[in-house]
Symmetry: C2
Amino acid sequence: MPSKKPSKKIKPPKGTRDLYPEDLLRQRYITNAWRDASIRCGFEEIAGPTFESTDLYAVKSGDGILNELFQTFSGKSDKEIEQVQKTAQAPYALRPEFTPTLARMYSAHAKQLPKPCKWFTAGPYFRAERPQRGRLREFLQWNVDAIGLPSEEATPESKAQMDTEIIECAVRLFESLGLTNDSLRLQLSDREVMADYFASLGVSDDQLEIAFTLLDRKPKLAADTLQTLATDANLPAAFIAFLTAEHTEPNLDASGLDSVCSVCSVVKIDPWITKDFTIARGLAYYTGTVFEALADGERAVAGGGRYDNLIELFGGPPTPACGFGMGDVVLGNLLDDKELMPTGVELLEAVARPQASIRPDAFIVPNGDPANEPLVHTLAANLRRGIESESWLADKNRKPWQTNRYSVPPLHARISYKSTRKINKLKADASDQHAKFFVEIHADNKVELTNMDTREPITSPIGSFHVDPSHEHYIGQAIANLL
Amino acid sequence: MPSKKPSKKIKPPKGTRDLYPEDLLRQRYITNAWRDASIRCGFEEIAGPTFESTDLYAVKSGDGILNELFQTFSGKSDKEIEQVQKTAQAPYALRPEFTPTLARMYSAHAKQLPKPCKWFTAGPYFRAERPQRGRLREFLQWNVDAIGLPSEEATPESKAQMDTEIIECAVRLFESLGLTNDSLRLQLSDREVMADYFASLGVSDDQLEIAFTLLDRKPKLAADTLQTLATDANLPAAFIAFLTAEHTEPNLDASGLDSVCSVCSVVKIDPWITKDFTIARGLAYYTGTVFEALADGERAVAGGGRYDNLIELFGGPPTPACGFGMGDVVLGNLLDDKELMPTGVELLEAVARPQASIRPDAFIVPNGDPANEPLVHTLAANLRRGIESESWLADKNRKPWQTNRYSVPPLHARISYKSTRKINKLKADASDQHAKFFVEIHADNKVELTNMDTREPITSPIGSFHVDPSHEHYIGQAIANLL
């Protein structure tokens, strides 16, 4: 049979990867940890197409991304070919990020979907950037998002709770991989507060997007380049002074951010958190809290924030939403640098280990008194994090993938965003979600634990809580350690 | 901030899928089963880029695929844009199949790689076809391939063994999902034998590719269309008569295929196998055994074969190779039709279940006598398949995902393709591959089982083999059931 013989070996496209078996296992170690952290925090997995209509990204992705699209067309349609030849614009683009797909998917079924939808996804993304350390043209990204709230009017408290649950999921991932807040910190800002501050410096409404873009690019640009770009954009002198100053941390009043920080204390992730009004995030769609996970000498490990207007822009109802993305490349570099990536037989064993139960292990609600709310969040956080064993903690050479790490392994815990206090309604939700155990925190520091298969409740004071084997045992241990 | 508001809701591209949580779990049920079957049969996971140079597919993919490429270019390079505008040909294409990437990856490191490389991969593929039942424009595909043989000259026996191990992996997948040879059959043919037969009907060398393509498309085309296409291609009348006859199964001498069938008996997958000289496979690169998994009323569930010339075409050394691909769409339809897809809480539990150990549970070799070779293959097959429990088999409403299915669960078993009979060399290979147990089949129907961590051997006659807990227990049980 005739065939065209290549004159030389064909190479993989620039900025893409060939993953041989060990490379693949290293990547799977990361994607397994992503899935596990998502499931423990009560997120459900979804997926969208690898390419989308180019129009989808024109809605709100920001110029940075639009300039980096890989465009795509099929050879099957004369109309497409004509368009491509005339305009050099193709009808489709390889997805550079997930949020537009997510907004499209939520908008298409907004009425029927539960509120919030807590969703995660992990898959390939594409940006036609110059490949360099921490940046490839094809990479994996993990996206974790919470969309919609059950009440008609989203309260600042419920938004703070949702923001925190998103940030918590990133922290649970870092913890599971053995990263610590010595090497990694989560920096929080607020787009609205920043926008008000920029306005006070004379930035006009239609300059806001370029102002945020320049602040976001500041760490990567030389001071004079930054100065030139800001001047070219006609930004006011007071803003340029703020932008180009070496250390600028304006002292701003940010009550929304303070609420997020106080929920972070309840779920004990506050040691990871700092407020920082110099981080901006490059994407145009953020509206409130924004955050980045930063390690010394690396690009951002993760970034995200609140995007309350985006679902509406895609044809859905007004919907509060918050989420983050994390790539595999920077995270992999960080794990290598910190010697937190297993090798050899340890890698084989770590990758094959069972993952978190997709059935919720525990569905936790307050019974009666709103004063119990914090204990609900603390218990959920304790279950999601697990309790490390003393023998492992005492080992100076301990590694995060060791089988002796936990005395109470991390479990899948869910809470409710509903304002109802009716236990039977909440129990029905737990049953619909196939939860194994229903946990009620009572006002008198007692806990009622119901096995949802047998419907048998056990009630006991926190602290002396102790029940029999398997999950019940683990949940009981976590309850006993709650105060 | 200004933004472009879409006038109507943007839809997902034609032929792509939005997977909401339950859809995703159904897909993951399939991809978990793919990974599990691959690992049990000793294949290691790899991955390549989602897009490749268009040139890569021009080498040998065949016109069918070349006409269905989604082409891709970045907006970053003036040269690319100029090329696209002038020629409507882009430098990259979304991958329509994996084999060219595999050939490129193997060729790039052929000298250093183990022989054979037993590799699998699962990910998204793209073809710009008209979407219809069983066919989408973006779909998942599982690829399983064995490339290279350790001896300088590949013997027909070692090729038959390799072909069988590839086919076995597909059968292990079908079994694990509860499919049976009532609903699904594997049809085997041989491209070389067919090429000789076509030549005897007057088909010339440069007509062979179109002859195979037409035979492959026969089930999908009307008889007169087939007649016209064959006539237009100047194919000889004797071939056209064969092509257009309603039932044509030439009685051909195919000793290679007979060898494959006899190894299939040893690993007890022969009830799934039929020889069928009317199947052809559309791709141009096949050279020997070809096969398809077919179910009534569906497109092929899987297809593959031997492609001994391909690695050389991509710049590597002459290398025997064999593999198959299986898509998620037809397989998902088949599972739905047969009520073999779990729902509700059973789906949540099935998806979260632990997967096969990436460390080999057993590395099995013959000790001394070549007459023991078949027992090696049978034991490997028995371990890979597992032993179903009597209680489960007695249950008329049994489902494949039930936890009581196995008395000996399916395990990860490896064999060696090396011709050496030196036990210490083979044991060193088992150690390099981190096998947990090393199993020697002795000439006198005795088996020696060595725990590779403790290096303690146990020797016992097959049939009365019985050792203590966990894996050792399971492997012992499988050995006892061997004869």
